[in-house]
Subunit: 157 residues, 2 copies
Amino acid sequence: MNFYFDDFTEGSTYRSAWLQISEEDIVRFASEFDPQPFHLDREMAGRSAFGGLIASGMHSASLCIKLAIETGLFRDCSIAGLGVEGLRWLRPLRPDDRVQLEFSVSSTRRSASNPARGIVTFLYRLFNQRGEVVTTMSIAKVLKARPQAEIEGRPES
Amino acid sequence: MNFYFDDFTEGSTYRSAWLQISEEDIVRFASEFDPQPFHLDREMAGRSAFGGLIASGMHSASLCIKLAIETGLFRDCSIAGLGVEGLRWLRPLRPDDRVQLEFSVSSTRRSASNPARGIVTFLYRLFNQRGEVVTTMSIAKVLKARPQAEIEGRPES
């Protein structure tokens, strides 16, 4: 099914696939974007406040985006991201953790100036394999509304 | 110079090095974390609202983190990130753009429960080579305070 702005209603909740994170994933991301010892080096990370290697916060946030996009829900309707509020790193993401994104619709608003699109705000929550919330964020997306032709041409069923 | 919590004062502003972003950088990040046509494929991106390939919003955000960390200011004091508010994608980041991070201290607060650390909130603004703001965010970091021994042992000069 192709999803459009019109298909997202307040309170609807979706779940992504599961994804396992390796030590190599964590180190590779951090080497490029967040080169700090507790993201890069197992030994030094062991002596940090976290007691072991943890993923960069932006890695966790990027995994939320990845898992949301890979659901395919936004394939036909994604126009742009507007912004993020309330990005929180509640628990560390560690090597061999498995994560799943749960996301729900917080609000929807059709554009007044261009009714062919609307803004949907989602609450993203990244869970680990123990059911603990690792990362949360609220993200606003601009989405295409269902094309009129498609609505008018829809068979009565 | 080693920077600690104590060294960040409200209103202080810092600038990172410049960094050039390639088409390959954009496609590689998006392939892993944000596989949408306008981040992946020059042809399809040309037909999108952006009229050409643009970096994933999380790529821009991750570049802010990279440029901040690579200043070295947080090398001796970084404990953890708490969270981000107001992440905004104000302008697209495109192949061959050059970016620089300007970041300023919005607020500082020593921990009441553990005066050996404090929370500093920074406003990050990522500029492109035309002086336009590409991305902004407000990020709260937990930083180590200057070790007491170091203060007491400081030579009078």
